[in-house]
Symmetry: C2
Subunit: 589 residues, 2 copies
């Protein structure tokens, strides 16, 4: 039973469900439903799909997530960045809007659902770690810029295409002469109104005496007001006659049952984009879920989240949707509206289903420029130009990864952008891991402490060379270790003992063990004994399973102090050291 409950979190919260929770969830669902409708239409059109697909993608996926997900506040559905990635991926197969294009988006949803489920079952959620914070932040900023730019076409009432900035801007500028003035007026007014709602409405309502939380919810309902006003304007002023593009006929229907095409070639073509989509979606969703869970001291389980999101995407693939994930904006609405359990999500799904069946005729005259305005206002919030600055100050390597992600995404598109960011982050990480910090150490006078000879005034003995490596020994730094030790020894021709101080070595893998063996043998060839000191318990246990300790020409000392005293004593037995043989390291000379 507990095992089942882990895979079906509903069994946990479902047992304690009661009337109060139901009321809160119903109220939240009502609010969220109203807000999600324009957002869902807009994102579907951003993805190059008919608007109703956005509604379909907000119904069954929410229910699937409610069954399998662990966050109590996450709202799953179409989101901006994933919509852009869907557009990019499916465009490589067929022109946006075509039947093959729609078929490709269903395959994308299915594949990314399957990838997410697989990662969840195989506990591969850690792979999302490869997306470092600077890469994700840079990617979202660049995507926001591309999305906002792409929506300008609807604001101006012109056509434009392109997945990255160069093509997009060229195409926009080339068609600027075709601008439809009525559309432009609606677009600019909608945008201006929505920006004002975002910045100015909440303070105004608070000043008018509304409690802050309610003021906030009203402000979030701004898009609904814009949608209603713009639709009325189109109808009353007969703007369709003047060339204002509207949403038009939307079928009044529950989500259709769709079966994604099984076509090996298509699957192969979409596999990498679907993988990127699922990982980006997962990272976005988990960070939203974690932020919201922490506010209530709740927990989410990232591996189970993979299963929840995977189920949601598979549900989208079979119900006429497209790839979905947990969105920041919609989840925050859900949280602020007081959703207590995933049941709120299920009620939202019912609400949107009702809208899909009964309310779509009302949307006929909704101008596309207004939907574009809601997207622009939403994604401008994603563009973050302050983080690059703080990262630049903190770490040049992280900044390089971020700059590469932003630059490549803007210039070449979303997929190359993510790949470039991940590859550069990993390369920089591996580069650093392959040459860890290490120091020659000596004893701090009258103590048992050993410190870097370059930074402290310490006592050393020319016959005893002690190297401290501040990193676990792995295959990434094994070759470096050989080079570093052998070069250091070559620089200290008087050395007769080498002590490797292992106080910071948390593990030694097979490659590093091989290097230690090589070091031991090569030093023995040169008449130098190799010793270890301060080896941690688990590392020692493992070394005892190899033949290294038998081969070691020297000893393993419990502490570095013991190693140093013991080896000095041994040197004195061989004959007292010359006076100038005992020297002080740089700090003292």
């Amino acid at each position: 039973m507990p095992a089942l409950a882990r895979f079906l979190p509903i069994l946990q919260w479902g047992r304690t469900y009661n009337g109060t929770l139901l009321t809160n969830d119903l109220v939240a669902a009502g609010i969220v439903t109203i807000m999600l409708i324009p957002q869902s239409l807009a994102y579907a059109m951003l993805a190059g799909l008919p608007p109703e697909v956005g509604l379909y993608a907000s119904i069954l996926p929410i229910v699937a997530y409610a069954l399998f997900g662990t966050s109590r506040s996450l709202a799953v559905g179409p989101v901006a960045v994933i919509s852009l990635m869907t557009l990019t991926a499916a465009s490589s197969v067929a022109p946006p809007g075509s039947a093959q294009f729609i078929a490709a988006t269903l395959v994308l949803a299915l594949l990314s659902g399957v990838f997410l489920l697989l990662m969840g079952v195989l506990k591969l959620g850690f792979l999302a770690n490869l997306l470092s914070h600077p890469v994700v932040s840079g990617f979202i900023t660049a995507s926001g810029i591309i999305i906002a730019t792409s929506q300008l076409k609807a604001i101006f009432g012109i056509s434009a295409a392109g997945e990255a900035m160069p093509a997009l801007v060229t195409s926009l500028l080339g068609n600027l002469a075709d601008t439809n003035m009525s559309t432009l007026v609606i677009g600019v007014l909608s945008t201006a109104f929505l920006f004002w709602v975002r910045k100015g409405l909440k303070p105004l309502l608070t000043r008018l005496g509304l409690p802050p939380r309610r003021a906030d919810l009203f402000a979030k309902a701004g898009p609904i007001a814009a949608v209603a006003a713009a639709t009325l304007a189109v109808v009353l002023l007969d703007l369709e006659e003047r060339g204002v593009a509207t949403v038009g006929d939307i079928p009044q229907s529950l989500p259709p049952l769709t079966v994604p095409l099984f076509d090996a070639g298509l699957w192969q073509q979409l596999a990498i984009p679907a993988l990127l989509l699922s990982v980006i979606g997962f990272v976005e969703s988990v960070s939203v879920a974690q932020t919201l869970a922490a506010k209530k001291r709740q927990r989410i389980d990232p591996d189970q989240e993979l299963i929840g999101l995977g189920a949601a995407n598979v549900a989208a693939a079979f119900s006429g949707g497209y790839p979905v994930t947990g969105g920041f904006a919609r989840s925050v609405v859900n949280f602020d509206a007081g959703a207590e359990t995933p049941a709120a999500g299920a009620f939202t799904a019912v609400g949107i289903a009702i809208a899909a069946v009964f309310l779509t005729p009302l949307l006929y005259a909704l101008p596309i420029a207004t939907l574009a305005a809601t997207i622009i206002v939403a994604v401008v919030g994603l563009v973050d130009l302050r983080t690059p600055l703080t990262i630049w100050r903190y770490s040049r390597a992280d900044f390089a990864a971020m700059a590469a992600t932003i630059g490549v995404t803007l210039l070449l598109g979303v997929e190359p952008g993510v790949i470039a960011g991940v590859a550069l982050s990993l390369a920089l990480y591996l580069w650093r891991a392959s040459r860890p910090h290490a120091a020659i150490v000596g004893r701090v006078p009258e103590t048992g402490h050993f410190r870097n000879v370059k930074r402290h005034t310490v006592i050393t003995d020319p016959r005893i060379l002690t190297i401290r490596v501040d990193e676990s020994l792995t295959y990434l730094n094994a070759r470096w270790l050989e080079e570093f030790v052998l070069e250091t020894v070559a620089d200290h021709p008087q050395a007769r003992h080498l002590v490797l101080m292992c106080s910071a070595v948390n593990s030694i893998d097979a490659s590093a063990l091989e290097s230690l063996e090589a070091i031991n043998h090569r030093l023995a060839d040169a008449g130098i004994k190799a010793h270890l000191s301060e080896v941690k318990g688990p590392v020692m246990d493992r070394l005892q399973r190899s033949s290294f300790l038998d081969q070691l020409s020297g000893q393993v000392f419990l502490s570095q102090d013991e190693a140093f005293s013991n080896l000095i004593r041994r040197g004195e037995e061989d004959g007292p050291p010359q006076k100038d043989d005992l020297w002080m390291a740089r700090g003292m000379i």
Copy 2:
């Protein structure tokens, strides 16, 4: 001048060159030349190329390496594993032996030369670290098995093809009926003789009173004896009439000037194989060079080695050769023969050039089965079945990477094998890096030491939770850190202070900083203060460049002891703790 000398090591050793060195180098070159001739022919045929290509690949590449390389003993030329990889890569373009096939091998040599040069100039030698010891060892063992199996066709005098074991074995068994008995007799006798030379000749010569080093050199000359005897047997017994395949006509010529085809499609097709070739060749060569350099307490510079090997491969591409690297067998011969400087290599090149012009007619009747025997005897030494056992005992993760490499190489071929090994090693490494060791610690009674509560009898305070992370904080474990800290706090509802003990944290990257900020804020939301202790100097310097320390709800303590005492004192000021509030951790209860 020193900068130039770094890129042209000849300027260093060339200045001190003298008569003694010249004599030693000339003697070594004479010995090596004789030994390299059959080896070069054999490896060229293994690579699916005409035998003379092996000679050409042993002339100019040696000279190029002598100019740019840093090892004084490394002998560059055709080697077994690289020959197999060349066969595999070029076979994907055209059937072995065809003109396009030969053209493809020249492109492979050029591309891998360019990759090596690029890696050298950009100091990317560390990328070779991605090939862990278990992966390289597994790859060489599996390649040895494939090579030995593929040579059985020449021993039996039948045809067979296939790049991996399943196809190879099927094809051998299918053609076994065509076995040529005369060829089989020569093949088996040659193989048996060479195995005996390897194991039995040196002890015999030593017993007969030869000094060990000379006995060793004689034993290494065994292949020459086999070649001479087998050639004589073919001539005297007229075995060609009986269907014994021989080397046949070899053009008497210096290496021809060849210009690798510039064909974008071909280059693209061969880019990945060439990259794998160059990295495998580099790893093999560097480990040989390091082993030999250490014996004489000399140094090699891996980044400069990339340039030396790159130059050698470019030279091969323009002089009718094919991909080359520093080989173990030929380098050891060179070393044992007493080569003192890279000039020995240059003299060897002259020797082989003389052979290519004057001696090739003598090789006309050399049976291919004897060449196959020299290959089999050489590669059986590469097959190492003991290492998998020792690695299994030492580390299951390393064993998994090795087993994957061996399995995939045998079943699917050399390229998938290397890629699988590298990918699995990296995935296992990242997995471990993404969940480092961490412990809740308490104070060892009457000391200032803090240890894991699970392993030691320590004093803790329920209001003060101290977590020690034994790893640098990076983007790979940033998300884990958030989860671990927040879950641990959720498990300790009485906690009012969290201390993160940073004694093992060597660096904090931007992602981890972001996670620390998130932890700080979320804990503050829950009424818990976050503190740091034992932050290392360089880490602290960097933190001061961010706004984290200003946001931190708690303090940074120099030592954990100070943190614990200070926070306990503060708790007492708030009111004395309940008696059962101060508790002893597991070890004591």
